[in-house]
């Protein structure tokens, strides 16, 4: 009976959803959706891996159309449905928390998670029901190829992606409206001051003044460093959303024209130019958004965990500005295998500027570790160990990507499992998710009003299973890539079975980790508590801690 009681009401009945503010509820709603989509993406990954070992296994049943439709939605569900939602949820809460200002609109925040959820579901349906499978790369003119794909499936899929991007634009509007609102501590700040701080210019000017022996440009920057990282990363999120939305509109125009009996010429759009446009935008997710958001999250976590100022804060601010230039100029590393791409673009953008990401990410890793190091001894809390695991993830994944952004290596690694395993999966599953789990544990008492965690042992088990599973799976995939295994290919004769079996074992650890994490959360909050999160809030409070401060004043 105790089990049923905990299952229904949470641990020691400590979670009271009716006590949550509108801001807390909207944050938790997106977090719940994010972890559900994470499970779906993980399951899809395992099913695809199973099919690479035995193509006859369900649900693929030797059908490449089904296999590739799963491969198409796997990153949509994993990146947008899960990662975007989790990042957006955290920042939707953190921006008001850190700036001590109310969120611009909780209604818009609710619309954001709803649009992304509906959009992800629509894309999934478009692929699952109609087998629409142009992959997330949408290489022109494949998405408009109605000889291979269903018209209606394509329209549903693309509308789904467009909804995700509209939701993303909603998040961006909310972030900037909150940051630029001249209320509270920013009541006397000008837009110019906030912009200078948001782009890290004040950090750079402080550094220059220090070198010239002058007084700092500002002793108290208008925005705290994590907000600067969110501000800066959101620029890339915005541009990325515009590019993906643009690509979606282009595909929709062709599909709708086809539905209307008009046969538009696909060769009117140059395939290589389209690739450049698409990768310029998409790479902003990977190299701009992820690396910058992550750097900001590391800085925030390091300062919260240690309770001390960030080591070399001005350098960190200036580095975020440098990353602005780097992230916009690196897309050609995706086009090193395209012989029509000008060689100078390959050399400058694809190799040299891309190599700077080693510098910017290495700097973030150094600053975070030094901040922790100077504050030792520290207690090995959940926040700290997940943060350290996140550092390991990027420590492994960033060089794996930089190695391939080289004309020699790319010739033998492009489109292999190396890049998707050793680089992308380790970066996302270990680097990004471990950092986000650390954020989850930091925010847990704040967004749940101190709900008790059901089991620390389960939290530890989740940590080790996820860490070992993530690194092991990425490494096995990477090794398969070195053995020639392609990333966008369906091997129907078990050519790489041994690698895939090992990857599946580690993948199972990841899946099990997710089940344990989910179980721990359900038992902490209770089924009633989880339902309560989705019920309307009893108040419209869109800030954290301000009301108490105002009451005291």
């Amino acid at each position: 009976m105790a089990f049923v009681d905990t299952l229904m009401n949470g641990t020691e009945n400590s979670f009271k959803p009716e006590s949550l503010s509108a801001l807390q509820k909207v944050t938790l709603r997106a977090v719940v959706m994010s972890f559900l989509f994470y499970g779906l993406a993980a399951l899809e990954g395992m099913l695809m891996r199973g099919a690479e070992v035995n193509p006859g296994l369900p649900p693929v049943f030797n059908d490449p159309a089904h296999f590739f439709s799963m491969m198409t939605v796997h990153p949509i569900v994993g990146l947008f449905g899960s990662t975007y939602q989790l990042v957006f949820a955290a920042f939707t809460f953190l921006i008001p928390f850190l700036t001590k200002k109310p969120l611009y609109s909780t209604k818009l925040a609710n619309a954001t998670w709803l649009l992304i959820t509906i959009g992800t579901a629509a894309s999934w349906i478009g692929a699952f029901v109609w087998h629409y499978a142009p992959l997330y790369t949408l290489y022109w003119p494949l998405p408009a190829d109605t000889q291979q794909f269903s018209l209606i499936g394509g329209i549903v899929f693309i509308v789904g992606v467009a909804l995700i991007m509209v939701g993303t634009l909603g998040f961006i509007y909310n972030v900037y409206s909150t940051i630029f609102a001249r209320v509270g501590v920013h009541a006397n700040k000008t837009t110019k001051e906030l912009l200078i701080s948001g782009f890290g210019v004040d950090g750079l000017l402080n550094l220059i003044n220090k070198l010239r022996g002058k007084q700092p440009y500002t002793k108290e920057p208008a925005l705290s460093l994590p907000v600067v990282a969110i501000f800066r990363g959101t620029v890339d999120t915005f541009l990325d959303a515009l590019v993906i939305l643009g690509a979606g509109v282009l595909v929709l125009v062709y599909l709708i024209a086809e539905a209307g009996g008009v046969d538009l010429d696909v060769s009117a759009v140059d395939a290589l130019l389209y690739k450049n446009f698409f990768w310029w935008g998409l790479d902003l997710v990977a190299d701009g958004l992820v690396l910058i958001y992550v750097a900001g999250s590391w800085y925030l976590l390091a300062t919260i965990i240690t309770g001390q100022k960030l080591f070399m804060e001005n350098v960190a601010r200036a580095a975020l500005m440098l990353e602005l230039l780097v992230s916009w100029m690196v897309w050609s590393h995706h086009l090193l295998a395209d012989q029509g791409q000008p060689e100078m673009m390959k050399l400058i953008s694809g190799e040299m500027v891309t190599a700077f990401e080693l510098l910017t990410q290495g700097l973030a890793l150094f600053i975070t570790l030094m901040t922790l190091w100077k504050a030792r001894p520290l207690k090995m809390t959940n926040e700290l160990k997940y943060l350290l695991a996140g550092l390991v993830g990027f420590g492994l994944a960033v060089p794996a990507g930089i190695i391939q952004a080289d004309m020699a290596m790319n010739r033998v690694l492009h489109n292999t499992q190396w890049i998707i395993g050793a680089h992308v999966h380790i970066a996302i599953l270990v680097g990004l998710y471990m950092t986000l789990y650390s954020v989850v544990y930091v925010l847990w008492p704040l967004v749940t009003n101190n709900a008790k965690l059901y089991s620390q042992k389960l939290a530890n088990t989740h940590f080790w299973l996820h860490l070992i599973g993530g690194i092991g799976m990425g490494a096995s995939m990477g090794m398969a890539g070195l053995g020639g295994m392609l990333r966008r290919h369906f091997y129907m004769n078990g050519e790489y079975s041994s690698y895939m079996i090992v990857a599946a074992i580690f993948g199972s650890m990841l899946l099990l980790a997710w089940v344990i994490f989910l179980y721990n959360i359900i038992m902490s909050l209770g089924v009633k508590g989880l339902i309560g999160i989705f019920m309307p809030a009893n108040n419209d409070i869109s800030s954290y801690g301000l009301e108490e401060e105002e009451a005291k004043a």
Binding site: A65, F68, A271, L272, A355, L372, V412, N415
Partner: protein
């Protein structure tokens, strides 16, 4: 140090990256252990900040300089339009079907071979693979642009061809066995 085949480069890469991975995991684990100890650990080595930054820059740039000098196909790729190929093969693709030259594509050990691949509809890839499925080399094949690759074969054998880029579900079945062969490694081999 020079790598004659992609297999040699990938083997070197396998070892180098594994060593690096173990090193970075060990460093963070060492940090984690010492972060929680009451007695403060003394640093094993003191790395000045600018030394660390210089190392990152050197690693990022030096990596390319190393491969440019140690991997022959980089320079050959950049200057391929000024080089004369020993053999040239024209290949076209349409509706997920490769059309190869009528005569079997062959070359002798050490010859420079140019592959011109033309797509008439979608984005494809062109890759040659060994019997054990390891990759010799690959490139993307875009419609509307020239897709050519010059390669010096320093290994013999029969190589199969795959499209290394996804072009729709039917693309999974694009595979041409014994598409290209290289002879001349043995003394008696003509």
């Amino acid at each position: 140090m020079t790598f004659e085949t992609s297999l040699e480069l990938l083997s070197f890469h396998w070892v180098a990256y594994t060593v690096y991975s173990l090193l970075i995991i060990s460093i963070i684990a060492w940090f984690a252990y010492n972060l929680t100890r009451e007695t403060k650990a003394k640093s094993i080595v003191r790395i000045p900040f600018y030394g660390y930054i210089s190392f990152l820059v050197a690693a990022g740039v030096g990596h390319h300089m190393f491969t440019y000098n140690a991997v022959p196909w980089v320079e050959q790729d950049i200057t391929r339009h000024n080089l004369t190929a020993d053999r040239t093969f024209d290949i076209s693709i349409k509706n997920q079907v490769f059309t190869l030259p009528k005569e079997k594509m062959t070359a002798k050990y050490g010859e420079q071979v140019m592959f011109n691949v033309h797509s008439e509809d979608l984005v494809y890839g062109f890759g040659l693979f060994r019997d054990d499925n390891t990759m010799v080399m690959q490139m993307q094949v875009n419609p509307g642009t020239k897709n050519d690759i010059l390669w010096t074969f320093k290994e013999c054998g029969n190589f199969h061809m795959l499209s290394t880029e996804y072009s729709g579900p039917a693309g999974a079945k694009i595979r041409i066995d014994n598409a290209f062969s290289v002879t001349g490694c043995d003394k008696g081999d003509v």
